[in-house]
Symmetry: C2
Subunit: 331 residues, 2 copies
């Protein structure tokens, strides 16, 4: 990193290549998979499940990395921290994020497990069901958190999935400390309802004491507070967190910051093709709007526009230049 | 291969993973690329051109392999012969073709160059411009041509691109010999007008003396005969080849077998997204119709239906089950 470089957002997350195939509901049932969820799998399951999948398409993914790709597509200056292996899929991941102008200098793991991959089954209803093999991601540790990069970014964006590989947690906490010492914001995405279930008490502590801007969908936020209704979760998070953006699929999103609250409709989608990355894209759009002073309601609208783009095609990363799309929609 | 296994079609071709990114016309011009063509590049150019590309999506490709994938999607029993390396992209190629039920047992090259890749730039007019790094494909040789597989297939389908890696030519000629000795058909796709230019005299000799069923598009067939008009090429090929299926993009296709000639319209396409693989898909549809005794005109229609499917999405391989699509269209 050049000493004087400034970033709008630095993301820290699992560096993953998505392997996307279509599947029907029967296949999910037979494999005992819960539709819409993310399940962690080991190396041998990664091999056997892949062998059972239909023909697939590979593209860079990873939740926080997708959000950073969205922000870059919106014109923001970004950096990413995450662990790939020194292999072909790692080269694909590095290429794709750098080609968007994102600074990505985390050294590849040597003699490690291969680059992480996420086997994604897209059902005819456009839902995605994910099985993640973390591979080289387990090598991410505090040494990979470059204090210069974190200190130079207005927002440090973290994904909850980072709580899964054991050493990444330390990287996560180190990044929070540096960001706050520099007077910058910390943002967290809860990632997945099952992930929240695995790490609920840690996540509650984070949300209450360390997170400035929280992203969660309805399943995740109700799981966090173990409540039955969206409204109950809304009232709880309102007390705990300075600013939360809560997504509700077709019902749009609700943004809450103390007494300020906005209920914003979803952007219409001509054809729902694949919901992979919709939440990641929403976070990109919202952060972009927020950092550019558009106000919370308009930031939520930008989030919805980015999410609608992601839903309209197979794959998690934007297929069009989001900056131009958002400018046209807001004009 | 099980001793008693029979195949409808065995394809022999370069085993390639496609790396697809969007690009504008200016980028093509600046890089000195000829829109719609396929250019061979070496290992260092493969690295530098990839570094210049935008974010990409990886999926299995290769001309004959795409045709075999199309035939498998149409329900035909197929095999493929081609050379991958023992690396991650090779595993992707092997997975994708096997997951369609295609028999693919060519041993991976050891200590070789990596698995071949084709950098594909898709312009807003849906044209694709390709740069191919042949990598491990140069290792394909006569030893890889399994006489049991060729002998068990009603059609041996070869791509003209095989004439580029030097040893593959011998594999190509060996396959022709075995197929004809077994009384089976040999089919050739001319692949690309520049490829025809590189190997014109060899291709003419093949077409005149060894090929039973020729596939070519308008540019390729006019290049083969060095004539200015489609009709001149049509009259020439009619004398040289028992059966030729000639594609003309939006103008449809012309099938000629001596005195029998059919001029068949293209299938309507709602939105032309990416023409990559359209010719490969046409060949799959035509071969399927021909082998199932539908007659030449109807076989050309099936070719058109498969091509229209390929054109409607990014990527060369079918995204839907072609068998169901064709049954619905022909019903």
């Amino acid at each position: 990193m050049k000493a004087q470089q400034k970033f709008d957002v630095v993301g820290i997350g699992n560096a993953i290549v998505d392997v996307v195939a279509r599947a029907d509901d029967d296949t999910l049932r037979r494999s005992g998979l819960t539709k819409g969820s993310m399940e962690l799998i080991g190396s041998s399951a990664a091999k056997s499940r892949y062998a059972q999948m239909g023909p697939a398409v590979e593209s860079s993914g990873g939740s926080a990395a997708n959000t950073i790709a969205g922000l870059a597509s919106l014109g923001d200056r970004c950096a990413f921290i995450g662990k790939i292996a020194d292999d072909q899929l790692g080269a694909v991941f590095r290429h794709d994020i750098r080609s968007l102008g994102v600074s990505f200098d985390t050294p590849a793991a040597c003699n490690s497990a291969p680059t992480a991959r996420c086997l994604i089954l897209v059902t005819p209803d456009a839902q995605r069901t994910m099985q993640t093999y973390l591979g080289a991601c387990v090598e991410l540790g505090p040494d990979d958190v470059d204090a210069n990069v974190i200190g130079a970014a207005r927002v440090t964006y973290l994904e909850g999935y980072l709580w899964d590989p054991p050493r990444a947690k330390k990287a996560f906490l180190k990044a929070i400390e540096i960001a706050h010492a520099a007077g910058h914001l910390v943002s967290l995405s809860l990632s997945d309802a099952f992930c929240v279930d695995r790490h609920r008490s840690d996540f509650l502590e984070l949300v209450r004491n360390h997170v400035d801007l929280l992203f969660a969908n309805e399943q995740e936020i109700t799981s966090l507070y173990e409540v039955d209704s969206f409204d109950a979760a809304l009232q709880a998070v309102r007390k705990d967190c300075r600013l939360a953006a809560l997504t509700r699929s077709a019902k749009g999103s609700v943004v809450v910051a103390g007494d300020e609250i906005h209920v914003v409709d979803a952007e219409p989608v001509a054809r729902v093709v694949d919901t992979t990355g919709a939440g990641d894209a929403y976070a990109a759009g919202f952060l972009h709007g927020y950092l550019h002073g558009l106000g919370l309601a308009r930031a939520a609208r930008v989030g919805g526009i980015a999410a609608a783009e992601a839903i309209g095609h197979v794959g998690a990363r934007p297929e069009t230049l989001l900056k131009a799309l958002v400018e046209a929609k807001l004009a």
